[in-house]
């Protein structure tokens, strides 16, 4: 008798070996996809969206590439998810985490092929990951107490991160930008207070960090273009028609004259409001919402600079830099904290007019103006800078630093190899495999740079056999070099996150022995 059909139409079920195969293949395909972007000589990808206009993105950032992929393979989705989390959590290493997870699964596949149970592999991987983490911890450097050295550490990290991106040409310049910006945050990880403004035109080198604050807005007509010693009121209030908020209120009139009267009252109300605002003794007023012509005119008459429609983030940042509070009522002028700055002026960047606040009280926020030849370049530059800023802000909190250029992987691989030799039983195969997967990262870096990876990695291994070696791959000369001399550093937090989430993801995929896919939800035909 035929086996009863258990699932709904179109639902599929993959079992045992086939399920494992499907997830291995999916995961490795994803890893191979982003593999070529790894390292300083990694290549970029063009992504074309299916949305309107088929907008194009050119990027090197793993998380961005993976985010825009439409994937049906469940295991691949796990990898995309870890890359996304890596992006949110530490900001960098989004490619490495996927490549490492992919390599782990590639090794695991071989082991499964030679009849080792996935559970054994998992426990081997766990031991190896633990051991690798300890090995890294042993070799970290922490220069938190020495401000000078710490800054140079930050510079090195920024340069290392940027070197794989489009900004690598001017990495010195951008690394300095990023470090300056992050140092201003004074330990906060809130990157919102660093504003990035993109303006096409000029070259990447013309990008600069502005200590003050730049608002991408125009100054209202007939208002002063330059204010010294400004008192700023930052507000979030309706300056169009001030609606009556009591529910159900409506105007019902029976003659034209009354309409005019009410209109007059409305105007009067607005005038009063403006008067109150002016009563704060300000000469600059920034509002999140729209300002209608009438109040704008009133402000202009009073010689006050009124800026409308600054968005939420802009307002928050402005309040942060100028030290004012965001106000919505204006009845107690004496207790509202006003923001101050030395100079407000309209400046031109390229062809656009912007408002520049300089000499602000609190130095926390700052603005980075990016210039570049095209929007694609600017977008990519922003992403790269974002990565660098993320890593730096995390490093400020957790100041442990490692060398880069494949050095951490080799250190880990060495420790894991030793563990494998000591471990009895089948697990040692898995541990060995783990170390091979780790070595795959320097191999990929070398491959992407067009170097003889087999030769280089073998040399590197030999170098690392000595105690306390600082050897890594120097992609520029194409040889093994001393990383501490070359000044290539990475943040410990990033490496640790890569190691742990890659192992976790590989473990998760390995544990699966069955995939059940439900029938896709039917879309209503709109024809």
């Amino acid at each position: 008798m035929a086996v009863e059909r258990l699932f709904k139409d179109e639902a599929t079920e993959e079992k045992g070996e086939r399920a494992r195969m499907a997830s291995f293949v999916g995961a490795m395909a994803i890893a191979d996809l982003v593999k070529t972007t790894l390292g300083p000589k990694g290549m970029d990808k063009i992504l074309q969206s299916t949305g309107r206009g088929h907008s194009v993105t050119v990027t090197n950032d793993g998380a961005t590439i993976l985010k825009s992929l439409h994937i049906d393979n469940p295991a691949a989705k796990v990898l995309i998810d870890i890359s996304k989390v890596q992006d949110d959590e530490v900001g960098d290493g989004t490619t490495s985490v996927v490549v490492l997870a992919g390599e782990l699964l590639r090794e695991a596949e071989k082991l499964v092929g030679s009849k080792i149970h996935p559970m054994t592999i998992i426990s081997g991987f766990r031991m190896a990951a633990d051991c690798a983490r300890k090995a890294l911890l042993d070799r970290v450097k922490d220069n938190k107490d020495d401000a000078e050295k710490f800054r140079s550490d930050l510079m090195r990290i920024a340069k290392t991160t940027l070197s794989s991106k489009i900004l690598s040409q001017d990495k010195e310049h951008f690394a300095k930008l990023a470090v300056d910006a992050v140092m201003r945050l004074k330990g906060s990880t809130n990157l919102e207070s660093i504003q990035i403004i993109k303006k096409a035109g000029g070259s990447l080198k013309d990008s600069f960090l502005d200590e003050g604050f730049i608002l991408d807005k125009k100054i209202g007509l007939g208002q002063p273009k330059r204010i010294e010693n400004a008192n700023i009121l930052v507000a979030n209030t309706a300056m169009d028609t001030d609606k009556v908020k009591i529910y159900g209120a409506r105007v019902r009139v029976d003659s034209m004259a009354k309409v005019a009267q009410i209109e007059g009252a409305e105007k009067e109300k607005m005038r009063e409001k403006v008067q109150k605002i002016i009563g704060h003794g300000i000469n600059c007023f920034v509002n999140r919402q729209l300002i209608y012509n009438f109040p704008e005119e009133l402000f202009a008459d009073a010689g006050i600079l009124a800026i409308e429609h600054a968005d939420f983030d802009g307002i928050e940042r402005l309040a942060l830099v100028t030290g004012g509070e965001i106000a919505s009522t204006f009845d107690n002028p004496e207790s509202v904290k006003l923001g101050h700055c030395k100079l407000i002026e309209e400046i031109m960047i390229g062809e656009d007019k912007l408002i520049h606040f300089s000499g602000v009280e609190m130095g926390q926020a700052c603005t980075i103006v990016l210039r570049g030849a095209s929007f694609h370049v600017l977008d990519e530059a922003e992403r790269s800078l974002h990565d660098a800023l993320c890593v730096l802000s995390q490093t400020v909190n957790d100041s442990r630093v490692l060398l880069g250029g494949g050095w951490p992987e080799m250190v880990m691989a060495k420790a894991v190899d030793e563990l494998a030799r000591k471990t009895p039983g089948k697990k040692s195969h898995a541990i060995e495999a783990f170390s091979r997967a780790l070595i795959a990262i320097p191999t990929t870096i070398a491959d992407n740079a067009g170097l003889d990876s087999a030769e280089l990695v073998a040399q590197l291994r030999a170098e690392h056999h000595k105690e306390d070696s600082n050897a890594g791959i120097d992609v520029i000369t194409g040889a093994v070099g001393d990383m501490s001399v070359l000044g290539i550093s990475e943040a410990f937090k990033v490496k640790q996150a890569v190691l742990l989430s890659a192992t976790e993801a590989a473990e998760m995929i390995l544990r699966v022995d069955e995939i059940i896919t439900c029938a896709p939800r039917r879309r209503e035909d709109r024809m």
Partner: protein, 535 residues
Amino acid sequence: MALAFDEYGRPFIILREQESKSRLRGIDAQKANISAGVAVSRILRTSLGPKGMDKMLQSPDGDITITNDGATILEQMDVDNQIGKLMVELSRSQDYEIGDGTTGVVVLAGALLEQAEKLLERGIHPIRVAEGFEISSKMAVDHLEKISHKFDFSATNIEPLVQTCMTTLSSKIVNRCKRSLAEIAVKGVMAVADLERKDVNLDLIKVEGKVGGKLEDTELVYGIIVDKDMSHPQMPKQIEDAKIAILTCPFEPPKPKTKHKVDIDTVEKFQTLRKQEQQYFDDMVQQCKDVGATLVICQWGFDDEANHLLMHRNLPAVRWVGGVELELIAIATGGRIVPRFQELTTEKLGKAGLVREKAFGTTKDRMLYIEHCANSKAVTVFIRGGNKMMIEETKRSIHDALCVARNLIRNNSIVYGGGAAEISCSIAVEAAADKYPGVEQYAIRAFADALDSVPMALAENSGLQPIETVSAVKAQQIKENNHCCGIDCNDTGTNDMREQNVFETLIGKQQQILLATQVVKMILKIDDVISPTEY
């Protein structure tokens, strides 16, 4: 078949539109049902035990779930078959009742169905089989009662509870840090437990997750975590000795339920209305301030003006807090939920030692911690992990562990895990079978065989020789009269579960046997399946 003729030879119709329906009858129907049930249980079989594998499920919307939890697998499996749905129900009811053992119950039901099929082939009437199963399930449950142990724990000695929770967690992906998670679960349950009434309200334990960090960072917070931030960016991020006003009314002008209109027809009216509006906002904030609140938590939104007034008067506020969370906050802080500003009094305020906002990662994510509450009867388990699926799976695992701890507080009897209890029951039932006159004897013996299938699956998943191992353990149990022998899944070298500290709750096991038997009985009683054919 469904066509009958009356005394004059004219056909009359019993089933409407019978040609468009497929129909299975008699032994065919039973066999089809059994094979469907067995197919479901076979999917879960590999998930059993500490070395069980996970399943990856893709939902209709393309979301991925990776899990080891029987109830979750079945729920998301999109089963179409009617009998399959019964099995799903079975696992779900185990989940609701006990919270753990959702895989085991389905595996047991599957094994019973397999055995029943053999008996049906021999020509034993299904009802007799069902009755035999019923008798033996009673025997097994009684036997479990006999071999169960009571163990003692108190608020200070939670070690036994932790051990039991660890048994549950060891089959999940989180077994890497099962010890710390088990401790979190037990401490959480003990914090909210009512030891006198022997009851635990699991609603008081909130399980909150956030991607990022590592599993080891998971913590138990004696307080509440709300995924919200302060309504105004410049409000203080930390409040000590907070007095919390918990409101369910919005900081907005009132909206009477009855339909009404306020007509403005003169300038004076317009102005008075305006004044009133301003007065209203002022009053609201003043009322909160008057009773001495230092933090306002509100279920609804604020108007911009109200928001600024709050900020201005130095009264931090949180908006859009969900109803469930609001209740938890009220319980934890000992406050009352206040529906109207007029009813706000000092006594109704909740108290918390520390309220702080904590930021995560590089994005803007912030969460609000409410700690050192007046009444620590509400706790939050805060889970961190590498990716979303991990967090979801950890949530489910923690839920299981919480349920186990709760069951132990309700009834502190335990039986030994690792298949020991099943083998012991199987021996007892087998021995009783011979004394039973009648056809049921066969069914009882079959039941004993079915019980063996749980340890068999455990051994199989752990990579041991299933038949060899189970028979060896069985022989050992009879020889030494020791009901603690089970399958050594973790390869520790001993199969005495007492030494390995592998426990399960008595009620959990009993419930498994009873539920599985009930469902099998129901399936066996069906002899006619009428279903509409595909269009």
